[in-house]
Symmetry: C2
Subunit: 115 residues, 2 copies
Amino acid sequence: MVVYLDSDTNLSDDEVDRIFRALADATRRDIVRRTLVDEESISDLAARYEITFAAVQKHITVLQGAGLVTKHRSGRERLVRGNPEAIRKARTLLDAYERIWQGRIEQLDALLAEN
Amino acid sequence: MVVYLDSDTNLSDDEVDRIFRALADATRRDIVRRTLVDEESISDLAARYEITFAAVQKHITVLQGAGLVTKHRSGRERLVRGNPEAIRKARTLLDAYERIWQGRIEQLDALLAEN
DNA sequence: TAGATATACAACCATTAGGTTGCATGTTAG
DNA sequence: CTAACATGCAACCTAATGGTTGTATATCTA
């Protein structure tokens, strides 16, 4: 299934799966949050958590696969930067769900008004 | 970590994990969408997908664990109803992330304006 | 009451996820 | 140039996920 949210946003199931899956982990959400504030190197990020460097690297790979962060080289470091676009996609999908529900409520209201 | 989004919404990591995890599957998103429009029995839902009844039952259990749907008995059937409250929680968290990013942009703008 | 329908749930299986350690490679600083 | 630092990546382990089948139980309906 492909969801058309608005004129410039259409999302495949796979893409949405990856975004929500990536957000379903507290460490990954923390990485997204921090790198939205300011870009950070992988080492900087790894130092913040109790897991190994390699584990943090894997989390970043997952986030990158979902489009939630990007990486770019700076000397021997890789700087990680949060990407608000992927977050907006997920948020827009949830907005759509909320509107569906709102629509149901309005239909119920209309039905009540009729009788 | 516990996130305080607004005066009446605070979310534990576990709760957020469960919500996003539950949404990271196309079948489950479809169930949420349909049951937001109108409540449906488990059999009704199961008939729509190519997987077994038991598999659909498991998906519903996951959604229920995340608070995304509720079940209530009606005779021998169990009716499943989408719960917009859990969706709102997830959406509000993404809103917060978008605001963080917006804040960064504004700081950069201010910095540029200074120089 | 018997049979059909709706659900619950346990046991099992294959795949994925999230973690580890170890090693290779590129880059910077003395 | 060498040592230290930053990263990439493979191999491995365990637990969780998403599916299956099979069985049990409750509720209608004829």
